[in-house]
């Protein structure tokens, strides 16, 4: 097919040339930033993992965003509180200090508390799961905002952050694959454990008894109950464990990626994670892959402002308001949600409260 008239018709804009420029820009700019992309993907992947665990057992968790926000705040504020009590120098690998560990544990505890609340409301009280999750989001935003206002009056210093492991130069400088090495190894402890947790969850979900039971409860709880599975207990357990994953993702934001807390710093990551979960067809590895895609767009939105592409592509992009690139991940989420959701089938009992058959 002859496409020259088409190209000429576009008023001399060399479409193919632009395409090559775009690809060239991506190839040039993405591998050196692979570490940052993984950092963007970590909270998304952990939150998506929370979504997978909850929804595979039949509980919709919209409150992931709020859980992450509360954990991020807790990690930071507990770090502020306990930091003066310990003077030990950070360890060589990961920069681990006692305050940071305490902060992390506190963040996980808060996440556990919140997800238990969601479990109680949606499993025991059989409240609408979306309303329960939304209220958790509103509550987390309100409480962290209030406490942050109170505490930030004294502008306290945080407990620092976990540092990244530096893999040997021999590995990161390998031609062709060096950027993959730094992507996964030039990371802090939470990002690294996220990778392990995701692979572990994949195996767990599809190769273990608990995983089989989880999927059974998510598809047909009544049938699962008739073969002796305690639906209520399993759902509680999954929601609570999932909540801790979300908490880990929240803690990552305030004590690994940065060492500060900003109001609403999760910025919709909990919701983007839900889209990543759907795109990944409710599997941990699929969700991780989707999280990486979203993370690439989040990172590109920043890179375009920092290191804009040159040539014709650059001059076109500089004509577009910068806010468009900031909005890109959210638009992408909608597009993917609309495009993929029809072919991606949720667990059959997702979102439905379960009521035991009465003994009488």
């Amino acid at each position: 097919m002859d496409i020259t008239p088409l190209i000429n018709g576009l008023d001399g804009i060399p479409v193919l040339g632009l395409l090559f420029q775009a690809i060239g820009y991506l190839v040039a700019v993405l591998p050196p930033n692979s570490t940052s992309i993984m950092s963007q993907a970590t909270p998304l992947a952990l939150a998506a993992l929370c979504g997978v665990l909850c929804e595979r057992s039949g509980i919709v968790n919209i409150g992931i965003e709020g859980t992450m926000l509360a954990s991020a705040f807790t990690a930071w504020v507990v770090g502020v509180a306990v930091n003066p009590m310990f003077q030990a120098a950070p360890s060589d690998i990961f920069g681990i200090t006692i305050p940071l560990v305490i902060a992390l544990i506190a963040a996980l505890g808060v996440a556990l508390l919140i997800s238990t609340l969601h479990a109680w409301l949606s499993i025991s009280l059989r409240a609408d799961q979306i309303i329960s999750g939304t209220i958790i989001n509103i509550a987390a935003f309100g409480v962290t905002g209030y406490l942050d206002q109170l505490i930030s009056k004294t502008s306290p210093a945080g407990a620092g952050e976990f540092t990244r492991f530096t893999p040997p130069d021999a590995l990161t400088n390998l031609p062709g694959v060096g950027w993959i090495v730094s992507m996964f190894l030039n990371q802090g402890p939470i990002a690294m454990s996220a990778i392990v947790l995701i692979v572990g969850a994949q195996i767990w979900l599809f190769r273990s008894r608990w995983g089989l039971r989880t999927r059974a409860v998510g598809e047909h709880p009544r049938a699962a109950e008739t073969v002796g599975i305690d639906v209520i207990r399993l759902r509680y357990r999954n929601v609570m464990i999932g909540g801790m994953f979300a908490g880990l993702g929240g803690a990552f934001l305030s004590i690994e990626a940065t060492n500060s807390f900003q109001l609403g710093m999760t910025n919709g990551r909990g919701f983007i994670a839900l889209a990543a979960m759907i795109m990944g067809r409710w599997t941990p590895l699929g969700a991780f892959a989707s999280a990486l895609l979203f993370a690439t767009f989040l990172q590109l939105g920043q890179l375009i402002n920092i290191a804009p592409p040159g040539g014709d592509l650059g001059s076109i992009m500089s004509a577009v308001p910068a806010q468009l690139f900031d909005a890109l991940p959210y638009i992408l989420t909608i597009v993917i949600l609309a495009g993929v959701v029809g072919r991606s089938i949720p667990p059959a009992a997702d979102g439905q409260p379960y009521e035991r058959e009465s003994a009488t």
Partner: protein, 389 residues
């Protein structure tokens, strides 16, 4: 979807008197509000411990609450200010509540609010010199249409591809924030202004009809609540909306078209939220800065939930939250409690509300073993199709 949830039968030993009827309706919201006030007091006392060097005072909650109250209803100006704060909450609450009735959860009220205000400011600036009787309706209409478009998108996506409205509306909230920032710091910006701000809407501003700053929007909010009630309970379309919300399958067998209703409901809901933004822009701010945007979106969800989506009950619910917002400033001045305490109070009210089955059991409203009736009304109103996100 589980079996249709039947409200627990109320005991019919004797015809209930007016007092007990009122009690059974008002008990839960009242007790919930009182409990939240107590929790808020505990939080105030606790937060005194957090700020080092603050003199510890057990009476501070009393100081804070009395300041909140006098800031909300203490004098005629305060009451008008409460009405002004409540106005967008009525529109927003109606928007979210109308969605609930069709089984749709429109969390995107915030985005539709922003885009609605954006539409109003664009039309308002263009019509700033036109005579007011022309400028005001056209600017308001622009806001309504803009909000409606922002609501149409998730409704259309839901009907066509099944994309769940919760995620898509939240994403559109973030897109709306960026859109607003791009326009206010770009084409709409006053040239050579040091900070991004648009021109004043001039003649398109709502006239003041009450006190010092009570604008036309207050009257519109009252009319809107009545209109939505009439629409829901006295028109065929309202019946279809409620039927689709109660049971989409049954509605489809009865010859209704749930997908069309979904699109129409989301568009109408977005238009109402857009009107909320319009009322703030044309009634209060008259121009737009890049930080335009309030907590109206979240507050609207709270209002709709507290009022159980009933358009007429939304009025007092909006007054409650509007009053808290109006009084928060005075509370911050007199008791040094951040205005964000209102967010906390609101969240506790919602949490107690969702846990209201437990409350009902304690209060013994609605029979010996009331069960989850309190939530059922909410479940039944958001039910619809399986809520897989």
């Amino acid at each position: 979807m589980s079996a249709p949830l039947v409200p627990a039968p109320t005991p019919v030993r004797r015809p209930p008197g007016l007092a007990s009827r009122v009690w059974s309706v008002a008990a839960v919201p009242l007790v919930v509000t009182v409990l939240s006030v107590l929790v808020g007091a505990a939080i105030i006392v606790f937060s005194e411990l957090l700020v080092p060097g603050h003199p510890f005072d057990l009476g501070l909650p009393l100081v804070a609450y009395s300041a909140l109250l006098s800031g909300a209803v203490g004098n005629p100006d305060a009451i008008v200010s409460t009405l002004v704060y409540s106005t967008p909450l009525v529109f927003g609450g109606l928007a979210v509540g109308f969605g609930f009735k069709a089984g749709l959860f429109n969390i995107g009220a915030q985005g539709q609010f922003l885009v609605g205000a954006l539409g109003a400011v664009m039309a308002g600036v263009a019509l700033a010199d036109a005579p007011a009787p022309i400028a005001i309706p056209l600017a308001a209409l622009a806001g309504i249409i803009a909000g409606g478009i922002w609501g149409f998108i998730p409704g259309f996506l839901k009907a066509v591809s099944g994309a769940h409205e919760v995620v898509s509306t939240i994403m559109l909230n973030y897109v709306a924030v960026q859109l607003l920032a791009a326009l206010v710091s770009g084409p709409l910006k006053v040239p050579r202004s040091p900070s991004p701000v648009t021109f004043d809407v001039g003649n398109a501003a709502f006239p003041i009809i009450l006190g010092r700053n009570g604008h036309l929007g207050i009257a519109l909010a009252l009319l809107a609540a009545i209109f939505v009630w009439w629409l829901l309970y006295r028109t065929t379309w309202g019946f279809e909306v409620r039927a689709v919300g109660a049971n989409p399958d049954a509605a489809r067998y009865a010859g209704m078209r749930p997908k069309l209703i979904t699109i129409a409901t989301m568009t109408f809901s977005g238009a109402l939220a857009g009107l909320a933004g319009t009322s703030v822009l044309l009634g209060v701010t008259h121009s737009m800065t890049s930080s335009f945007g309030t907590t109206v979106g979240f507050d609207s969800i709270a209002v709709a939930l507290l009022a159980r989506s009933n358009p007429l009950v939304i009025l007092p619910a909006a007054l409650l939250f509007g009053g808290m917002r109006a009084g928060a400033g005075l509370m911050q001045i007199k008791a040094q409690i951040p205005v964000e305490l209102v967010d906390v109070l609101q969240a506790t009210i919602l949490l107690f509300l969702v846990a209201s089955p437990v409350l009902r059991r304690v209060l013994r409203t609605g029979g010996r073993r009331a069960g989850p009736t309190g939530v059922d009304t909410i479940v039944a109103s958001t039910g619809g199709e399986a809520v897989a996100i």
